[in-house]
Amino acid sequence: MSEHKLNLKLMIWKQSGPDVKGKFQEYKVSVSPDSSFLEILDDLNDSLERSNKEPVTFESDCREGICGTCGLVINGLPHGPLSRIATCQLHMRHFKDGDTVYVEPFRANTFPVIKDLMVDRSALDRIMHAGGFISINTGGVPDANEIPIPKEISSFAFDAAACIGCGACVAACKNSSAMLFVSAKVSQFALLPQGQPERYQRVEKMIKVMDEEGFGACSNTYACEAECPKGISVKNIARLNREYIKAKVKSHNLD
């Protein structure tokens, strides 16, 4: 371990509740380049608590890039300046001594701030409840390879299923659109045989809830793809558009 330390000025967004005005608060920290971004926040909170000051509220869970909980906007970019990682996988060696680092919550009306850097992303769950599942009736366990699926198709479905639901696509989008998220969820089922029975009602229902929640529309700026920790491709959004058009032409739903 190197003795070398980085002195940083952290400008962290502090906001005591959803409908209160927030502002940046300055914290001076001295950190190891080997620390992760979340670890320096842990250390900061530790020292704040020791001196009886209020800690910074932020979310994290698995700390290995697969749960999608640790959404922070660092210097204007969701999950920080590197691509294809979650905030927990960002290490301080990517910052320079003397840097000022701005930390904001994911901002979108659909993601109200709970406190400081913690936002409520349950709007994404409500989209999932509308159709992001397949229904399997009880019975015997089906054989794993009973239904043949071409390798290419299963790979596309798997790539889409890599979405961890972190909401960085919404945070990165100038329209706060959730199209990348929804496109991943729709694609992973639309591509596979198990997703066929509910294929068209799924996409209709998920888009309906997406619109009702107040997410913006897609302007095809492709910022989402660049900021997505899992590299979900905007080709999924094209597929979502196709699925939606097909559903609207084919389904018997008159809504």
Partner: protein, 218 residues
């Protein structure tokens, strides 16, 4: 509202309308540019005025004009509506704005390049279309175009507007294909390049007309 209009008013539906009207306008621009190349004939405007009066005498033109007007209207109303709805989805803006590496400046400025195009359109229609409509067939359209383009201020605005229209088209062309769901490894890179080429051709093509008369073209 029937299912049809409700679907068209969904977030994806709104974009489909943008893409349909956008592609229609893209087609129109090509025909408009091709026809106007008659300006360069160097015959004192004979070819251009002939082209213009032939167009005017075709009975299908008023119908196409209404279609074109509707196309523009739908595209503009829907574009401004989308811009407003989309920006209202984030009331509290980011304090630090770092443009994502993934998104082009063209894609993020569609409403601005579109609005300049709209202002241009109003001036453009007032200069030529309105004169022809009110003064009838006798008007020497070539002369009107020539004298207006000899004014450096008018021509300057025209050239800037065409450059910005090029920005709009550069993003818009491929964006429309993505909206229809036509994004495929095999042909999407080609569509993106074709869109850039198209945008350059339109911007340079239309801007070459004021440049031609500014430089003393007859």
């Amino acid at each position: 509202m029937s299912w049809f209009f409700r679907s068209l008013d969904s977030s994806i539906g709104k974009k489909i309308l943008m893409a349909l009207t956008g592609l229609f306008l893209i087609l129109f621009l090509m025909i408009h540019l091709a026809g106007n190349l008659a300006l360069f004939k160097n015959d004192g405007g004979l070819a251009f005025n002939n082209y213009s009066s032939t167009l005017r005498s075709l009975p299908v033109i008023p119908i196409l004009e209404i279609g074109l007007g509707l196309g523009f209207l739908l595209h503009i109303i829907q574009g401004v509506r989308l811009w407003w709805l989309n920006r209202s989805a984030r009331s509290e803006k980011y304090k630090i704005n770092t443009p994502s590496k993934g998104s082009s400046i063209f894609s993020r400025t569609m409403v601005y390049t579109g609005s300049i195009t709209f202002i241009f359109l109003v001036i453009h229609l007032r200069s030529y279309w309105y004169t022809v409509i009110t003064e009838g067939h006798e008007v020497d359209l070539f002369n009107l175009v020539k004298t207006s383009f000899q004014d450096p201020v008018y021509s300057g605005f025209y050239i800037v507007a065409m450059a910005l229209l090029g920005f709009h088209l550069n993003h818009g062309f491929q964006s429309a294909f993505q909206t229809f769901g036509w994004n495929h490894v095999k042909y999407f890179p080609f569509i993106q390049k074709a869109g850039t080429l198209y945008a350059i051709l339109m911007a340079v093509g239309f801007a070459s007309m004021p440049v031609y008369f500014l430089l003393g073209g007859q």
